[in-house]
Amino acid sequence: MGKYGSDKVGFFLIGGYDALGVQTGFTEKVSAVTEDGLTLGVAWAVNLYTGLRMAELSQEGFYDDGVNSFHEQLSGGIGLSRVACYTVEGNTSGKNFIGLAGALQADYERQLSLGALHKAKASYKVTGKYEQGKIVRPLASASASGNTTGNAIDLGASSPNGGAGYLQVTDLSTAAVAAMTVTLRHSADNVTFTDWASFTNVSTAPSAERISSTAALQRYVAAKWEGSSGAGGSTNFRFLVGIAKAEA
């Protein structure tokens, strides 16, 4: 395991919104919820784990009112819980990423000061799981159909309890396709593959989805995508797929 710099933040996606171009930092925090267990006759604090964990996230960057940029993402997101994905290890197949089942935006703050560009920031309370998974299909644009079967990622071992799939769609031109179908597929030997789970057909962007299944997840995982016929024209489908094994 090596050290990583800010250039390795490969993506930071919330609900399909990609604010990496204007974002200057973010902080994540995962905590154990504890209860004071101090009783009489004890001189040192006692903290008891309640079995509950929680995660928090905050982001900050330059205020930007471009289409699908920071202001559009944050100003309309207060109170919304959206699927979030980010990586600090680079946007590369097989690298780790973090998936949040629901990042509930708690606030949106704009900061203005003399002689400086406007800034914006937001914080989130995570509802549901904070999961570390593997990038199956890095964030990139794609044509109408394809798959990563030839570059399936290796989870090291199967997951008998299944797992969760993450899909983030930042762009989708519906001129060429009416909807895209994205499916996770798996194999025990990287030779024979079958489908594991499919995301809901995507017809708009930005959008994001987390799917989970208790069906056993085999060691090798790939993604495939297909577009239904549309009115014609060039396809612009920019998306990310990730997989997280279920906790044992």
């Binding site: 030997d189 030779v191 024979t192 079958t194």
Partner: protein
């Protein structure tokens, strides 16, 4: 032992011996060079990669198909 199997779920696998040798050796083979065959549920095939048969049967994704028994008294038509 039967070499025919019925697919119990949709499958995809390469059929080229050269590709299978490379994959078995752990070599990377781009998807466009694998020549995947798609098998639908219920389809009976005899070319499931040998390396995959064991775990596919164990997972219940394929099942062996018994070879039909030869008809009785069919050696040369001699009346007995």
């Amino acid at each position: 032992m039967s070499s025919k199997y019925r697919a119990l779920r949709p499958l995809e696998y390469p059929t080229s011996p050269a590709v299978l040798r490379k994959l078995k050796a752990g070599e990377h083979v781009p998807f466009d060079q694998r020549g995947h065959k798609r098998v639908a549920v219920g389809e009976v095939v005899d070319d499931v990669p040998a390396v995959s048969v064991g775990w596919l049967v164990e997972k219940g994704w394929i099942e062996p198909v018994a070879e039909p028994a030869p008809p009785e008294g069919s050696n040369d038509g001699e009346v007995r």
